[in-house]
Symmetry: C2
Subunit: 366 residues, 2 copies
């Protein structure tokens, strides 16, 4: 193997695949990046057996071949090289990395021990705008559970139904749902690990390009220009989320998103000292009063609101409110309530394709 | 106690004193900030009994008084308040913090339990330019030891001798010395904890103001505008550093600081896998060759240099080289060598007031 490549090109390729490198593994080769020089390009691959990322870049190939190099050492070396052309080749069982007056000789793994990424049949390619997809992930994936004991809750349901793509995430305490229209009509669904979606989101740059998604029985494949990400799917039955979303309300309020976010952030300073971080929302004619008590003190906040229906008192875990208020871009949101023991439903004023359900907590009256 | 103050003013006062708040303490009141309202100003004080910081700010005082509030809670509350006027007063054994539609009621400690800062007689005030002092600290304090078992090594010697202010730091492996001229002639010396100097440095903003330093037997007092920092001194005898600094050399090289920094950073990627992070410097006529070997591989770097004297091979701990190369601003440095077992002396080309001594490490020949 022998090739020439610009430092920046190498660094970009490494950064793209590096997140799939296994940090905790008993298989040392999974700490490596597979590099293959073929005809006029380089292929970089990394995988932790859950997610695999492949990136192709053009290069001046002198001699074809492949190696696996330690991801951490190789990325740090390339990062510290001068911004110039880098020559990489094999000599005396070592990988030589030359750049201007610098020469590294490092060990490598034989490339035939590196696991192949699974093949995904690309029957149906769902085509989605990068920014739209990135935003869907941002608005849902945070609502998944971190608890590996309930694997289904750690994933996001991706469901294509009649030209609508739904993403749904829930953890037993809240649910986030985002819809978009797509052109492909073939129905399908899969539970994709939140980690995979967050990786995809990271790889997508801020360009207006397109991401292609393919779903097989066991895997999802995402294609973004010269980069492919393959992830296993989560097995299990996703909760019938449509049943959970309330269709009616007894109280509906309209409140400024930023004012509510700021008030809840302040109230959370007091509530975090208690259990379940409870904060109380009191809808009192044209005011929303937010209070919290704990051993360190208490807080009282007032925000002007528009209200339709009855007054109500209800308590929520402040974290679950903060999470959603941080990702809504609309100036105003609606919150629908039934009773103080039914979930509240948060909807942005303009973006009718987003819904967030949040279970109340019971607190003692004071 | 009852006063009015802008959120920004409060936040600035809290940030200034907060670094002296004790993080690990068995005395809960030391986790607090002392706030006193007197005539037309507020006094904020925090101390961990090693360092004390006091900050004065103007305020609209309605009623005099003082409290101690939990530093973490109070600072987070103020940080999250709207950017507006804040009203603070006592009611029903709680501290009330009001701002627009927000009202906090929090617990406080009685202020008479808060320890008084030691008094330092201001006989001699050494006057130093902020930026000059900040730079002295930056160029020396990193060379102190982190090892609390050798307390003297954790401090910086501050020595005033014949209108010269010297700062000296050493840890047994390297020594950093910086001199400046000052107008005050009274001789004096003290060992100031590096932590104290780093705090002072943080408090100094980027203005061209002046810092005043007073030394007593037990304490150092620094005055910066409306802020005072008092620190205990370290006891013990500082090493006679003047004896250690070599007066002659057999080899003197002149090398580009940035090129050397970059080369040593790369070589350190290999050397960190070994013991003592050794890297080898080989002065070979008009070239400086830098090499390092470890189980992961090897590296070879070449830099053009100017040389006076004999060729030499010597090895250093890469960390000790990196530390100094990062803080030198001159484009070129000189390095003076005697033999491969004598310390090397690093001097910036233009700044003749800075010297850095570094002990070699022995490595096996290859």
């Amino acid at each position: 193997m022998h090739f020439l490549s610009q430092k920046k090109t190498l660094l970009n390729a490494i950064s793209t695949v590096q997140k799939a490198v296994s940090s905790k593994t008993t298989l040392p080769i999974l700490k490596g990046i597979y590099i293959e020089a073929i005809s006029n390009h380089l292929k970089f691959v990394a995988t932790d057996l859950e997610i695999g990322i492949e990136h192709i870049t053009e290069s001046n190939i002198v001699e074809e071949g492949s190696v696996v190099v330690d991801a951490r050492l190789f990325s740090e070396i390339v990062r510290k090289l001068p911004d110039a052309e880098v020559e990489i080749f094999l000599r005396e069982q070592q990988l030589v990395i030359k750049c201007q007056n610098t020469e590294f000789n490092i060990l490598f793994y034989p490339s035939d021990e590196f696991p192949e990424l699974p093949t995904v049949q690309q029957n149906t390619n769902y085509e989605i705008n990068n920014q739209v997809f990135k935003n869907m992930i941002r608005q849902t994936s945070f609502a998944t559970s971190q608890d590996e004991m309930k694997p289904v809750f750690t994933g996001v349901l991706v469901e294509i139904q009649d030209s609508t793509l739904n993403m749904v995430a829930l953890d037993g305490y809240r649910l986030a749902l985002k819809k978009v229209e797509i052109s492909e009509e073939q129905n399908n669904k899969a539970i994709i690990p939140a980690k995979t979606l967050n990786e995809i989101s990271r790889i997508m740059d801020d360009s207006d390009d397109t991401v292609y998604m393919t779903l097989s029985d066991k895997h999802a494949l995402f294609t973004l220009g010269q980069t492919k990400l393959i992830s296993r799917l989560l097995e299990g039955e996703f909760i019938n989320y449509k049943q959970i979303i309330p269709k009616e309300y007894k109280t509906k309020i309209k409140v400024n998103t930023e004012l509510l976010l700021n008030s809840v952030e302040r109230a959370a300073l007091i509530s975090r000292e208690g259990k379940n971080n409870p904060i109380k929302l009191i809808v009192n004619s044209d005011k929303l009063i937010i209070t919290s008590n704990s051993e360190v003190g208490k807080v009282h906040e007032e925000i002007d609101i528009e209200i339709e229906g009855e007054d109500i008192s209800i308590a929520f875990n402040s974290k679950y409110l903060l999470d959603v208020l941080k990702i809504i871009e609309d100036k105003y949101i609606y919150i629908d309530f039934m009773t103080s023991i039914n979930p509240g439903l948060i909807r942005p004023e303009e973006d009718t394709n987003y819904k967030y359900l949040i279970l109340p907590v019971r607190i003692s009256e004071d």
